[in-house]
Symmetry: C2
Subunit: 333 residues, 2 copies
DNA sequence: CGAAATTATCTCAGCGCTAACATAAACTCT
DNA sequence: AGAGTTTATGTTAGCGCTGAGATAATTTCG
């Protein structure tokens, strides 16, 4: 009943050709007579042959795996990047193999090691921050490497993302242009999320351009979340800080801030303007759509995967792909 | 500079043992003298040896891959399941390989084929709905199979999840117990999300126990989202349906409903009670925490992965693991 | 028309590991 | 002390595929 899975040899015998010819038909490599191809494909179909990827990987010392290292799955941002990667891989024989680092560079290093044990065709990772050992592994592997989300540094191979400094700067400029002058900042723990820190720096810089500096600041000790944003804004305001607008480290935090205002009866944006980052759906579903900056997470993932598959070799010079960002006007600032 | 990656042979030579002995040390299989083990481990460390997984998979016709088929990554629920899976795999040599089906059974079948080409140690998939071909592949593969989220059917190997019928029933009972009588339903497209349909059936059944039936219903044509929930509730109420409580197909929809009420100035729960499903963070961060049912997504993923690794063989009888659910009282119903 | 180039196919070694079996040394037991 | 058992290690043959080069059949061209 449960007969062995057919191998190349079975297909070859049925199609009356050599194994190698079958292999070439499958991989679309080298010249094949149209008639032979047809016969081989027929044989493949009739046997229900599925190539053994492990054997292929071993023989060619390169697998159809794309290793993906993500810092987290709790934050919807990274699943969206992953979705973009999957979208790009959907009609290819490539498969994503995932590791979750929990924002821990040593964990990243460890996972990188086990991903490389599969001899993946490429590695997708996040940011420019890696341990020395990771960096050495990435560089010496010779395979294509994409570093996602950020573009404010020099990538190993390619970087795909947006300038977080630039985004932070734009949020300040936007609020200043709208006439806000007493602008506060509510954030979360930077040690895990360096890009949030970059945005903060850009934000300060943007204020400085207008001769301003943050009117008040509060940083929640812990990861970003709606709850954290709610509490953090309460804290900031409770301190009697006199602010007319608040920039949040991201939309999750900003939505939390929105909730606080609702609960405390603060008119948005008359009494307090709110500004986020990411452009999440939830922000747009608020009674007043959140003013924020849209980062194109899906696009980042898709672009990265597409670029990686475009060429097997790294470009001579590291390449940076700016997927940009856009101000979402919203109604909260 | 870029010397070849060390292989078993290199380690074996350095440790002055046979390759097989090194292999056994690595896999912790068979008796090894303590002294030999130490020498081998030293050699491994000094060479920085990393086993080639493809070779291992080929030789043993079984890889350290766990294939994971998820319907979607847009809905935070599935990344959370994935997070649970990763948590269970974190300290094992296993790696998750992911496919996203977009709720399409044919896509699932296709992805299943390419996952099986890696000879994974186990497959994790969602629900009991599979094409005949998929089912055949799963059954004949002989490897461990987990079907997640639902437990209201007979699994191939093990099922891990909760009774969606039961959860639906409980939401009705909860509202009835609170004195609500004109209870409506706001949902999304069922064709993609069968479990939402099961909850609806349970909901009806729960009402029936109290001699009631839904006071009004509206089903949004499309996937669930906060926006959809907001619009759908507006539609339901716009029709002049006289309801005092609404059960939503899930928390995303319910949060949208909450937003509608805020915008329309409807007091929650005095004028209208809201009830969700999932227990997402966002629901608990609302000005009034959402009354809902907590499904333990993380636990489902983690339990499934743990169970799969517990034994290489399927149990004689299909096994069902109920991760349960709990009513979250909240303040909206 | 024969040599060179092109096209289509085959042969065969080997990728790096593991399974199965063989062997050797060290015990245990009667 | 010899047979049987246990423990520790070695030997060997692939797993199923791909890459490099060999070979054969066909076309092109001076």
């Amino acid at each position: 009943m449960q007969r062995e899975a057919p191998t190349l040899a079975h297909v070859a015998r049925l199609a009356a050709v050599s194994e190698n010819t079958v292999s070439r038909v499958i991989r679309n490599k080298g010249p094949i007579a149209e008639e032979t191809r047809k016969r081989v494909i027929e044989a493949i179909d009739s046997l229900g042959y599925v190539p053994n990827r492990a054997a292929g990987a071993l023989a060619s010392s390169s697998s159809l795996i794309i290793g993906v290292l993500l810092p987290s799955l709790s934050n919807i941002v990274f699943p969206e990047v992953l979705r973009g990667i999957h979208a790009a891989l959907a009609d290819t024989p490539y498969q994503a193999m995932i590791g979750v680092t929990d924002y821990d560079l040593l964990q990243e290093q460890k996972l990188l090691g086990s991903l490389l044990a599969w001899q993946p065709a490429a590695i997708v990772t996040t940011g420019f921050d890696h341990t020395d050992a990771s960096r050495r592994m990435l560089e010496q592997s010779g395979i294509r490497i994409a570093e996602l989300m950020d573009i404010d540094d020099r990538p190993i191979d390619i970087a795909v993302g947006l300038s977080h400094r630039g985004a932070g700067r734009e949020s300040a400029r936007h609020l200043v242009a709208r006439g806000y002058r007493r602008i506060g900042y509510v954030g979360h723990d930077w040690s895990a999320d360096r890009r949030a820190h970059f945005r903060y720096e850009g934000f300060r810089q943007g204020l400085q351009e207008a001769g301003l500096s943050p009117a008040a600041e509060f940083r929640f000790e812990g990861a970003s979340s709606t709850m954290a944003g709610r509490e953090a804004l309460a804290q900031l305001l409770g301190r009697g800080g006199d602010v007319d607008a608040v920039v949040f480290s991201n939309d999750d935090m900003a939505v939390g801030g929105f909730m606080h205002c609702l609960g405390a009866g603060l008119a948005i944006p008359e009494r307090l303007a709110l500004f986020g980052f990411n452009g999440l759906d939830i922000g747009q579903a608020l009674p007043r759509p959140l003013s924020t900056i849209r980062s194109n997470r899906f696009l980042i993932g898709r672009t990265a995967a597409e670029k990686l598959l475009e060429a097997r070799e790294r470009p001579a010079e590291p390449q940076i792909i700016d997927t940009g960002f856009e101000i979402v006007e919203g109604a909260t600032a």
